[in-house]
Symmetry: C2
Subunit: 159 residues, 2 copies
């Protein structure tokens, strides 16, 4: 845990976070798809030509994974980690080789649990965009977060 | 494309599909998390002990990726592939080492596009369960699908 780690109490509606960037290559698209989403439009430029995408496109699940990596490593320093409870995703445009992706997150709700005041949920929307501002993924998620230990007489163990 | 490939016209509300299984190991959890979700509760049994999960748990994005792999390779033989437009996800319980996962999918809606009769959307709910019936992920997704070529005078290219 570092000094900038955020507890439930530190997060407010309207707070915004922006991550660093991730450069996506054709090889990385093919590697991911080979293991998790082996379909012609994700596996090679040649096999992708005759498909809906008309060229190599990344699996939406890779866009989701990149988004998580960016949030975890550079985006949202929650003290107890980013623990998703639920998530709505949409992929308005395909993620493509050469995309330099980053994530912009905005907190839309912060709510302490009524039954357990040591925890609560942060709701946030976050878009994953490329260097041209094209939105590759839109997400709205509910994250489990914890109150600062000792702030309410019910300490929890830190990471 | 094989003989069992399904076009939009072949899919009906209430159709059910069940995938084969995927055996998840601790090493696979750590490998995935190291690249996409590097948080203590996903990176090792030791580092996970002091966290909310009280032990090693898989990234929800790995559960989503395994679900996609199972659907693509053994679950839902759509003729033009599984192309997700949007998706709602929930992870009611953590996915754990030793889980043998499979996916059960049910079609809840099939709708042809009003503006382009060669395509439409299949809506489906699908649960990812382990060998004990614990639901690790619940999903509801909207998939882009295509009408059979020549069935309406507007052929599309096959994969």
């Amino acid at each position: 845990m570092n000094d900038t780690a955020l507890w439930l109490d530190d997060v407010n509606i309207g707070d915004r976070f922006r991550t660093d960037t991730y450069d996506l290559t054709a090889d990385a698209i093919i590697d991911f798809a080979s293991e998790w989403d082996p379909q012609p439009f994700h596996l090679g430029e040649d096999t992708a030509q005759g498909t809906f995408f008309k060229g190599l496109a990344a699996s939406g699940w890779q866009t989701a994974a990149i988004t998580m990596r960016l949030l975890v490593t550079t985006g949202l320093p929650l003290a107890t980690g980013i623990i998703g409870a639920s998530m709505d995703l949409a992929w308005p445009t395909p993620t493509l080789p050469g995309d330099q992706l980053h994530v912009e997150l905005e907190v839309t709700d912060v709510r302490r649990s009524k039954s357990d005041s040591t925890r609560g949920f942060i709701t946030a929307t976050y878009d994953t965009l490329n260097q041209h501002g094209d939105i590759r993924q839109h997400a709205a998620g509910r994250l489990l977060a914890f109150a600062k230990p000792c702030s309410n007489g019910a300490p929890i163990r830190q990471l």
